[in-house]
Chain length 213, copies 2
């Protein structure tokens, strides 16, 4: 399992001459880092007298962020599996028409799955950003930069996943699948971009009020 | 060592109720992922007949990207160490004026170091993006989305590191240090933003020419 490798070993694997894990798994990992930082700020807020008013809300945000982090973590693996399935379909025999048809159908199915995994990453990013906004505005102010980093990781995860959705759509012949998936991806991208910019502005305003530059 | 933890264990550590590893180390990790993907695209390009014209260039880009990846990887650890040094300085005794002065000086020095580590991350992002642009435009076109993800990771790493530079500048009393560091960070942010947007446009154009959405 990729997530059982050391961070150092995972980075070596990314940099290796194998296409997997590639951008899709990295997008899921960036999402998991964003959700993880959101959880961290929740945990650095709960139990503190100064933040007693938001204690219950932070506890709830923490549960949600941890559930999402687990989903992102599963998708790190799933994206690489989906990519490998596409490669396996391409390597099916194509000696006669029956084989060619079977292979072509298998490639189409595997590529659809490979497009849907990064779409799931995008959906998770969209679900996590409202949590990151809450912790950025109501959580422990000493950790406000961490909430900002969470937002940046989620935005980068979403844009990265979108590239992986689109590159897979390029070889899918089912027009309505391409159309629907593409529309969903565009809508999520817009929403994630707006929300992450909102968080970054807030975080920069809080930090900026403390420095004299 | 953080990088000797499993990916799964590292994510748990990020999400835990300890402030380190926090946004600064995550920024360095995102940078390492960006450099790693850049290396991967180089390795998926070299040795291929179709890309014989750029073979030497890709070999050189690979060496540069791998050197930078090693530096980013060191900074994952170094950022957490710098943060812990600030915490240790804050916990020094402050029973009399001598102790207070010593403690205050130690806090200032440790915080300067904690600002300079993310500044190094930013400088590395600025050095890596031209490599990512080369691989996006000249490398294996099948991996163009990975070059795009590399650019996104580097941009997110840089913006994240900038937040960590700025939050540390907030408590530094040396005005010329604050001024100089802040200027450097702003200049890098502008350059990194431009370059990463340029790469993303290119990648989207290449991918977009293949899909009918």
């Amino acid at each position: 399992m990729l997530i059982e490798k050391t961070v150092s070993g995972f980075l070596d694997e990314v940099a290796s001459n194998s296409a997997a894990p590639g951008g899709g798994s990295i997008a899921a990992l960036a999402g998991a880092l964003g959700a993880g930082l959101t959880s961290m700020v929740c945990r650095l807020t709960v139990g503190k007298k100064k933040y007693a008013d938001v204690e219950a809300e932070m506890q709830q945000l923490l549960r949600q962020a941890e559930d999402i982090r687990a989903e992102f973590t599963r998708l790190i693996e799933k994206d690489t599996e989906a990519f490998n399935s596409v490669m396996r379909a391409f390597s099916l025999p194509k000696d006669d028409d029956d084989q060619k048809n079977f292979r072509s159908g298998a490639i189409q199915e595997a590529t659809k799955s490979a497009a849907l995994v990064p779409l799931q990453v995008m959906e998770l990013c969209e679900r996590t950003l409202p949590l990151a906004l809450e912790v950025a505005t109501k959580g422990n102010v000493n950790s406000v930069s961490d909430a900002g980093v969470a937002a940046e990781m989620l935005r980068a995860a979403c844009i990265s996943a979108a590239l992986n959705v689109r590159i897979n759509l390029g070889t899918i012949q089912d027009d309505s699948f391409v159309h629907d998936t593409s529309l969903k991806a565009k809508s999520i991208l817009t929403s994630v971009d707006q929300k992450s910019v909102e968080i970054l502005h807030h975080v920069n305003a809080v930090i900026g009020s403390n420095i004299r530059s």
